[in-house]
Symmetry: C2
Subunit: 357 residues, 2 copies
């Protein structure tokens, strides 16, 4: 969140896109073939940074130049994507990757397929260093939020309008407007992010937001990047502790990990991770400790656990212990499994146990 | 929506569940084996009712009686489900089908699998004539809404609180609280339901709610039943016209049809359909008329179209014409395809064309 006077993120994005265009014009005016340099995203240039606790790109860079006929097409696409994104941000319009793919035709060319169009958007991210949500290309997926936080919108038609995020007891969507809203006032001292929608609703009904002074977030499976950015802002700007509750299986663990340390695909980006966030369950050891109903791990689950075991993001003691416990007991449990002790057990017993740890 | 003095839906559901229990007790006190009669949901008992414009069950009924040892297990499950649902409604708790499955273990028995537990919930729906959302068993899926409608909540902690559904520019979740809120004041004169989330957000940004005086609903694919009920209420209680926008393929058509005429699986229920709602596109004929970028239909798409062709819900002239057009041109187009004419074309040109038809 920008303080008075310093540029907003929107302004920074607009400037970065304009700067890209200015460099190209300068090259042309200097009689040079225009070119754009960007960090290489090849796997050999991706490494884990233990300080940042996320994947980052190394020093290898690639250049797209109009002097090379094979570069002309991706260079043109990249310049168009920058122009199109600038238009989006300037006019406060948001769009999707699918829309970008079709929009090319409004400009007299066509992408070969969705993959080609998606790649260009990632190229643009790595050139200007902002995730695509910051230049208004959002995914279809949406998470939702509920809790005692008052925000002030910055989108057109809503400038200066404030809303407390407990106003609607079914929860509010985390979309473009909320991602960029100012945080005005917060009573909560923590964030609890939950994988499942049914449980998010139950937590609201059981007044977890009041009893545990928490902002509740429904990730809806893997959290979209706008939601990961929102969670990071809650931690960085407001100092809230972040706790993550998922199903007790390798996929649930990884939902938590992507909030904590991001993904290799986003190695070219900063500002989407919350390394201090804590995965509080369902742990493999909880399945035993709480005698939860469980299902056997599938071969795919086990293969995935072995992958995670070697993944540098999972090198911490807790993660290694839980991966070993999964592989030992070969069982998994969903969050709903706590209902075997009654519907409120997870809120009355499990949650305080885990927050206390 | 109940007027002052008449029972609310919540009260009706509680009474229906209590009445079920009372009948069982009376049977036992009269020295009879307790039994429950329910309409048969076998396919031979499902027929299409052209008056109601939905599937309904015929007169065939089945009886579960404690006098038959093979009935004991499903009878016990059904009685438990009724008790559990009564507890949920009485205590204002909502839950999910997955939670119901696990909750049995809190009562000392276990369902064989999720399917057995799901079936019992449908049995209970058909006995009391209310969808499971009315006895507080909700799916994971959530749609969202945005528009000039002021609601008054009835859930605990929010009684009497009002909110205008334009308060949050990313949209509000349609969950248990909104499904049962009172409609206090509406400015909109129509509902536009949209399959895709990106487009829902674009419509808000393009002020479709103001320009076309509409409440916008994001169905998020197939609309959950709470959303179908919400749409019906907007039509029945407030007299709003309902328009549905989906991708131009058999799956999009069917998203619209399930809002309009429901599904065969819900033949035992009333009150979830909006027969007067209109599917306004993307039609097969629009793909040609608007020269949309399109993809070839797959074999599965074509098989599905032949199924729909014979489905009584699709007997109307528009539907048959569009099915024939799909089968003739063998192409499909997504809503995003309109972006080939620029991002606002769908709002500036296509939408007024279709609303005018």
């Amino acid at each position: 969140m920008a303080s008075e006077g310093s540029p907003t993120k929107r302004e920074k994005v607009l400037r970065a896109l304009e700067e890209l265009g200015r460099r190209l014009v300068e090259q042309i005016e200097a009689g040079q073939f225009p070119s754009i340099e960007l960090p290489s995203r090849s796997t050999t240039n991706i490494r884990y940074d233990p300080e940042l606790r996320q994947y980052v790109l190394g020093d290898k860079r690639v250049r797209r130049t109009a002097a090379n006929i094979r570069h002309l097409r991706p260079l043109m696409h990249l310049v168009w994507a920058a122009y199109f994104s600038h238009e989006l941000v300037r006019s406060w319009k948001t769009t999707t990757l699918r829309d970008v793919y079709y929009s090319a035709q409004a400009y007299g060319f066509a992408f070969k397929d969705q993959q080609e169009s998606n790649n260009i958007v990632v190229d643009l991210e790595s050139v200007i260093g902002f995730p695509r949500e910051d230049f208004n290309i959002f995914p279809e997926e949406r998470s939702s939020v509920f809790g005692d936080l008052t925000v002030e919108y910055t989108v057109p038609g809503y400038e200066g309008k404030r809303l407390n995020l407990t106003s609607h007891p079914d929860g509010m969507m985390i979309g473009p407007a909320l991602a960029n809203a100012k945080f005005v006032d917060v009573r909560a001292d923590k964030v609890i992010a939950i994988e499942k929608g049914g449980l998010f609703t139950r937590f609201i009904e059981e007044r977890v937001h009041e009893r545990y002074n928490a902002i509740l977030i429904h990730t809806a499976g893997q959290a979209p990047r706008a939601t990961r950015y929102f969670i990071r802002r809650l931690h960085e700007e407001l100092g809230l502790d972040v706790y993550i509750l998922t199903d007790g299986d390798p996929w649930g663990m990884h939902i938590a990990m992507v909030i904590i340390s991001g993904s290799a695909e986003a190695a070219h980006l900063r500002g989407l991770t919350t390394p201090d966030a804590k995965w509080i369950g369902v742990w493999a050891t909880d399945i035993v400790k709480y005698k939860l109903p469980s299902d056997p791990l599938t071969d795919i689950d086990i293969k995935r656990l072995h992958e995670l075991e070697r993944d540098p993001r999972y090198s911490g003691e807790l993660w290694q212990r839980e991966i070993r416990a999964f592989l030992k007991h070969k069982r998994k449990s969903e969050l709903e499994a706590f209902s075997r002790y009654g519907l409120t057990y997870i809120v009355d017993e499990y949650l305080p146990d885990k927050l206390g740890e």
